[in-house]
Symmetry: C4
Subunit: 395 residues, 4 copies
């Protein structure tokens, strides 16, 4: 019933989908998608960093039909924007992860399932390009079991999130009393009651919780997100764990949450295939550098020896082009796909991807670039590139 | 009835004319003149870039009667501000292009007719200094026919706009349902109904559309501006097309939409006589550099071998002096003349030109400069000039 | 009846006096004191420039009773803040110039009479340290007569304002219909009627006009300030006029309105004794550099061979210390004394001077400096000093 | 009755405690804690300086249980945040200094008693790590007697505040008629009457005044804070006084109020053990550099030869980590503990300390740092560190 192209016309851009999500979701659920750690400085930095670089387009290049495809880890993506891992997508739309996966697959791009999904690892159909995200849990056997399940289910790549040694303090969630599953406090019930469409859609869901954790959810504090996560997370995770995963997992291994260029050489030593430059959308360490600001030094350190991806702050198609010019091979989106999901399920995610594809295509055309992979720093006006240089940083 | 000098006194500055235009135009029409692409960052950059440089005037120079004239392509202009090409000016005032041309001619400066004018190429009287703007259309024969018509009509210079490989996403227009000709949606009719003066003035206009395109306006999507334009535009346009136009057109050939200094040497190789440093008023690629920020590197690359003009963000006479100090030979205005046109037709455009002339004259006097052509970078406080340097840019 | 110290306690700082003046003056008169040219960028720059430098105080220096005195042109001033020339002070308070002169003399500092005063040159009592400001008029004989009158009246120094080749466009005045003398338009009368205290105080004033110009006030446009001034001003004024004045005037000769460091060497060649780094309070060339930003390069060019004074943007005592650290020998205030005058006549000006004296004294004490003349750039945190360097500027 | 952990949950962060204090305190008392000198630029700089540096965390370091302890002057503190000296804490809560001392001791950190405390030096129980702050008074014997009393009472360290040669102009206090003890003006009584909880809590307090000054409080102006303090303070205090205190006091001697790196070598020559980089919370010299901006040059000058502490602007746990990365050994808090005290007495101070401890612990964990003392500049993205370098400063 809901049609992708109608949604594209109605919401027009990612900001439109954000406003739409604010209208359809109960406030605590919207805040869970929108909020970040502490003062949310890093969240704002992520978005603002994209507003600094200035493009110097090259017209008259005889642009052909644009080719947005990128090759990543032996697979071709139709566009350099994939769907990053986001927990609890099922709170926004029934079986949200399945809907987002269908949209990504239809768009010809990759989908990364969160370890904190509301559907089990095995529930995602064997279609398209599927990545699985894992954590290093206190119980390493649990981590290993996730990897085994991902291998058995035929996932294409493994993403190890490394910036969650402990959960960031997300103050909107704390103030909203956000918990997993929702505590039916009066405040929460009130927020839900004024969103009847969401309530009706969710009427069959008995629980909004992690699908992959059965059997390990103990602890006194288990009802809050921080309590639940901190019972699982392990600050002692280290490069030795990367080495362990590398031995266990034969496919592409990607580290998510790298900002420091000094970590690139170590990652290469551990046989890592790619990194995602990320500060977890500002949800972990407030005051961390914006991903885009950290990107040039990381890319310079990598010198093409591993893939450099970026997430955080992508809101326009042209942002993807800017990231490419500053050193990223491709980008992941998180909040934008959640807002699409909240508004229209699979069609919403498809519309967000289509908006980014269309806008990136237009930006390439206007810059005089036919193939996305050919875009480079010559498009950027000097003097606005982030001053973070790898040589100036103690590794 | 409307008198130029009364309008000068009443509106006082370009911002005054903008407010005036907002009052007299239906909102979708005003937004068509005022808006830009996507988040309108580049539009705001254009204006803000002029607020950075600081002038260090030189009094006690014995300033005489100021001479604002500049020589461009063998013709003398009375002032270094000319009227740039703007589409559909006839929506603002009946036969708007003819009115603006009369004002420019009376002021002794040049007028550039847009290919997307509401009057035919041949309708402009043979008076003053007339430039004709063309595009590279999918049908190259169509482009060549425009050039032939411009030659036959005796235009003085040819301006090839190069930054419109595809139409930018102008979100105000999309949200307003702006179309060519206007679809009489309820929303649009409502906006028109509350502007009775405009309606009365326009009562004889049956259509607001392109006068030079008869016979080629097909396509399913023809009612939207993007649909209409994208059916015509050709991303494959290239320097080969410049070469073709150079062979066909004997007079001055100017490229509009250059920002990258690397394009100057190529332009010289193609026999181009001048460039207009421009981002299309921020209406094409949002995130493009401000024209003023891109100007110094372009001027440095040109080293006087071709004329360097600037458009985008000129709102005060002193802006023209700043542009000169940063390397421009002269400037074009677009939105200011549209606001003048909307408020008072020919007299409004004349008033805007007079305001800019008067204010530039005063700025020169206060800076201790008698002849505009003598103003140079020594008037600028160092450290505030744009850091974009040609040597730092891969050509 | 009005007591200086009561006013100090009541208004506390210069911003307090500004608010006070806004309450007591008819709006067109307040705007005449408060406004500046065009968009008032340079006015805001003047104030904002003082907010950039950061002080690194040196405690434990054994500060004694502070000595704020400075020696200027053979005379000692009790404090490095003097009253700069402001036209038409008599509009704010009856015989405003006499009141301000009394306050300055009582405070032990200098007073500079404007050529555009509402009292004649000869009316100022022979007391204190009196400077006379002159212009180069179209009629050089008129200028010479002013100098002769100043010499006959025993003035201590001559200030030649050089940045008024023509009058800046002060848009508040234009919109207010501000004229000399006031045209009794309904709008102006209304603004006056709601300020009964001011009206009562001014009941004996029949005219608010220039006292030194009788016999030369012709011209069609004589009722507007711009018309009046532009009939007198002469853009052709040049260094030759400085040479003429130098021959005619034996005492200290000061140029007001220098911003470009390249003018210092020329001034020295012409026997000039001092310069006032100034942009006329932003009332002439909008977009001119802030005086404080231009100061370091001017001071560096002067190398102590002539006195370097500063006006524009002084609102706090600590501003005077910052100006000293960046190269100024002393400062002049204009708007602050006008606001003091409007609020309390002589007592108001005295209160403004006392506030600046007290606050500068405290700032010196907290910085560990006993004698104002010893404050230097070592108090400033590097990296925040204006980047304007004389070597980088074509002279 | 009030429980620390309840307060932590309720107020969540320091900003929450500030809002709480605004609600419970009469406005003049809140303003006394919250306000600063003149325009409060330096206060805002203090907070804003922490928002500039960007962190580049190092995950995968195998973080163990965090160790936040630091060694200062032979004692171990459980966390690198101690309570700085604040005058008149007893206005916020009965025996406020005793409450804050109990909270600090329970948290395992140090407490510095202000010379301007509302409890006598001897009233603080012999527990924990107690520092005593002194001033150099006009009557040096009085200063010496304070030192003797501190020694007799067994304090662990002596803090000499050096940036109070005279009292800064705190304009909120002046406008509020804030006096010591409070004058019962109608305005003040009104402000108190609408804060009944505070009034009830304070019902037994007959006076809110300095406990250590009996016998010396003369002077006509004694009722205002400035009058009281300026009767005591001595601008002539100098390094000779430091030498005198060094001879008299055998324990650790710390100078509070150092910003200029040139003072470090002199301090070392005088046998000083540590400095507190501070601008007195912006309450003395408005326009002084932010402490954090001044810190790197001071730390570089110190080269580990004396301890470098920082106060001013700490509002988040991560701020302490940023200060460490920029060269501070530990930090002091002032306003945050006052807001805690106002809201909940000892439990409020304990909650503020716990919030900072918890948030610093999390920031370390997320940065991949196990021991606070190991955090260094490699965590900071280059280019955002303050440009103040000791070599560029005349010492």
């Amino acid at each position: 019933m809901i049609d992708r192209d109608q949604l594209v016309r109605r919401y027009l851009n990612v900001a439109g989908f954000r406003r739409g999500a604010m209208r359809v979701l109960p406030r605590p659920v919207f805040d869970f998608t929108d909020g970040a750690a502490e003062d949310e400085f890093t969240l704002r930095r992520n978005e603002a960093a994209f507003h600094e670089p200035a493009l110097l387009p090259r017209p008259l290049q005889g642009v052909g039909e644009r080719d947005l495809s990128v090759e990543l880890f032996g697979r071709t993506l139709s566009m350099p924007v994939m769907i990053g891992p986001t927990g609890l997508s099922g709170m926004l739309w029934p079986d949200g992860e399945l809907a987002a996966h269908r949209a990504a697959t239809a768009a010809g791009t990759a989908f990364c399932l969160s370890h904190a999904s509301t559907v089990p690892i095995e529930a995602l159909p064997k279609a398209g390009n599927r990545w699985m995200q894992v954590f290093v849990y206190k119980d390493r056997g649990f981590t290993r079991s996730f990897v085994d399940r991902a291998a058995a289910a035929g996932y294409d790549a493994l993403v190890l999130t490394v910036d969650n040694q402990t959960l960031g303090q997300r103050e909107r969630d704390v103030r909203n009393g956000f918990s997993i599953p929702p505590k039916l406090m009066l405040k929460v019930m009130g927020a839900m009651a004024i969103r009847p469409n969401w309530l009706w859609r969710m009427r069959e869901r008995r629980d909004f919780t992690f699908a992959n954790y059965t059997g390990i959810e103990g602890g006194a504090d288990r009802n809050t997100l921080a309590g639940r996560m901190n019972a699982l997370l392990d600050p002692s995770m280290s490069w030795a764990d990367v080495a362990m995963l590398r031995r266990q997992w034969a496919g592409p291994l990607i580290l998510k949450g790298i900002l420091h260029p000094g970590d690139i050489e170590i990652a290469l030593d551990h046989g890592v295939d790619g990194v995602i430059v990320s500060n977890h959308g500002g949800r972990q360490l407030d005051r961390a550098a914006a991903g885009l600001d950290a990107l040039p030094a990381v890319a310079e350190a990598a010198r093409g020896r591993l893939k450099v991806l970026l997430d955080g702050g992508i809101r326009r198609g042209v942002d993807v082009l800017i990231a490419k010019a500053m050193g990223a091979d491709a980008c992941l989106i998180a909040r934008p796909q959640l807002w699409g999901l909240a508004v229209g399920g699979e069609a919403g995610v498809a519309a967000v991807l289509e908006i980014l594809r269309r806008d990136l295509d237009r930006a390439l055309c206007l810059c005089g670039v036919t193939r996305f992979v050919d875009a480079d720093a010559s498009l950027l006006a000097p003097g606005v590139v982030s001053p973070i240089k790898p040589k100036a940083i103690a590794a």
